[in-house]
Amino acid sequence: MLLVAMATASIFVGTRPIPPRVTLEAIVAFDPTNTEHLLVRHLRVPRVLLGIVVGCALGVAGAIMQALTRNPLADPGILGVNAGATLAIVAAIAFFGIVDVSGYLWFGLAGAALAGAAVYSLGGIRQGLNPVRLVLAGSALSVVLLALTQIITVNSDEQVFDQFRHWVVGSLQGRGFNVLLPTAGLAAVALAASIALARMLDAMALGQDTGKALGANPRLVWIFSALIVIFLAGTATAAAGPISFVGLTAPHVARFVVGPDHRWLLPFSMIFSALMVVGADMLGRLVGHPGEVAVGIMVALIGGPFFIFLVQRWRIARL
């Protein structure tokens, strides 16, 4: 409900003042010759929808990572997925001259998948299951990938740097249906799969021994979860740039509201994190008027203090 209200409000807010009546008309009685209608239809609507998709993806990925690693500070980036996507996209911009978001979306995904696979083999999945080793491998790989990213950006010409600068802060600006559709498609598949994962995560949350005794297969849960996280975080990062903090915070808010049952926790993480992304994006346009503040920056600006408030006011769940 709140999400629908927020999304609707967000469609009416923009850098260019368009009267609410015209916005409404653009949705119910679209006139392709009207520039304002075009603006609403082709920029604002897909932007809000993309915000929802990216938010859902990050929220669920964060909740899964926290459950798997039993680490309340885990976020989707912990497996090196975001760093992989970032490096691939920088490479796409610098070496292949790709400037279109829908063009480097696929690079981002490939980078995320490669990084995820690398972390898995470095973490030694075959020698048995050790979440700590995987997380360490993820952090180490992230550092290396980040360094490579910086080498490329520092050595690239100004135009490439400029393009990258705008992508790296995390933004929903200027993404049309050509970005929204593939993103939404990929995310929908992974989100559906994550719902099937919920009960396995519940069993595993009781500890490895109990989880196994209940008939859950820890290795299967890990592989399945990691695939989902790579898909979700990779897609979201490729589409909107690295938006941090949502994947960390939203699951905590959801856990506070619905408790530790993943059958509820995953859907609620989706909703809260979509709310945060769309809300932050809208505020970014209001605050930065007549320009705008990128959603990645807004999320951190609002999310940070909010999270501190949350930690102080209520106990944060142990995992």
């Binding site: 500890g207 021994d209 196994k212 005794a213 008939g215 297969n217 530790p260």
Partner: protein, 287 residues
């Protein structure tokens, strides 16, 4: 107390192990163990610290794959059984479990239903019935909506037992279920296990620390020392001064427990003999 018929080892029991060698990596803990867990009995595995009690229990429920030998359930190697099928036959209360913070008692007990649910078969009346039955049996029904974090140690352990009961398995394996509980809660829990065994005909296997409690509540003992099985059988015939001295290195007197008429071991002190097998921490590889 009621005594069952002595176990008939001519026909193999549902759960048995043959020639088990157990260990972690290069470190061998137990060599060539063979046990039959008598059906419908309360079996206690006892022995000094580090003798391999928990290791044996973990291998019986597939948490530890044997380096040699095999564990069979109904004649089939448990490592060949589908995970869920095994989880519908055998429940485990591990030494330590983690309750997710904020989880309520009824939700935690409900998680015991996992092996009975499928991807498309969600929560059913049968699940609800199993959960309320398990909570009633363990006396935690009144706590249903409370958070597990807020319970006392004794209550929490009962909730975990309820979780395992909700799994509705004919076999229950308990790894040191009474550790960290005060004496009253230990007795509560052991009484509960005996009731489960007598009334619901569960086959129970528990690793227990207290020899006297084991004699009092279990009707079959597996006595281990240095990674091998020293003796197994009915406590009354098994418990002798010689066995206690051999296994624990204790000089003792064994009298009849005036309450339960089971053997009661009263230690005098360490055995004077230096070659006792129970020196804590000695590596055990010889059988």
């Amino acid at each position: 107390m009621i005594h069952h018929e002595p176990p008939d080892f001519a026909k193999p029991t549902r759960l048995h192990a043959e020639g088990l060698t157990l260990g972690y990596g290069q470190r061998i803990i137990c060599r060539d163990l063979s046990v039959c867990i008598p059906d419908g009995r309360f079996t206690a595995i006892v022995g000094p610290n580090g003798c391999g009690k928990s290791t044996l229990l973990r291998s019986l429920c597939r948490l530890l794959p044997p380096l040699a030998g095999r564990v069979c359930l109904d004649g089939r190697d448990i490592h060949q059984l589908p995970t869920r099928q095994l989880a519908r036959q055998m429940g485990l209360l591990p030494q330590s479990s983690q309750a997710p913070s904020g989880i309520t008692v009824i939700d935690l007990v409900g998680r015991g239903r996992y092996p009975h649910q499928g991807l498309f078969r969600q929560w059913s009346d049968e699940d609800a019935a199993a959960v309320s039955q398990a909570m009633a049996a363990t006396g935690v029904t009144a706590l249903a909506e409370q958070e597990v974090d807020q319970l006392s140690g004794g209550q929490r352990q009962r909730v975990w037992v309820a979780m395992v009961l909700a799994q509705q398995t004919p076999l229950l394996l308990l790894d040191e279920p009474t550790t960290f509980l005060d004496i009253a809660h230990q007795i509560d829990l052991l009484e509960l296990f005996r009731t489960l065994n007598h009334d619901a005909n569960h086959t129970l296997v528990a690793v227990l620390h207290d020899l006297n409690q084991a004699c009092r509540y279990a009707d079959y003992l597996i006595v281990m020392a240095n990674g091998s099985i020293v003796a197994q059988g009915d406590p009354v015939t098994l418990m002798t001064v010689e066995l206690v001295s051999e296994v624990f290195g204790l000089d003792s007197v064994i009298i009849e427990d005036p309450v339960s008429q089971t053997p009661l071991m009263i230690p005098r002190g360490r055995c004077p003999r230096p070659h006792t097998t129970s020196q804590a921490g000695t590596p055990r590889t010889s059988v």
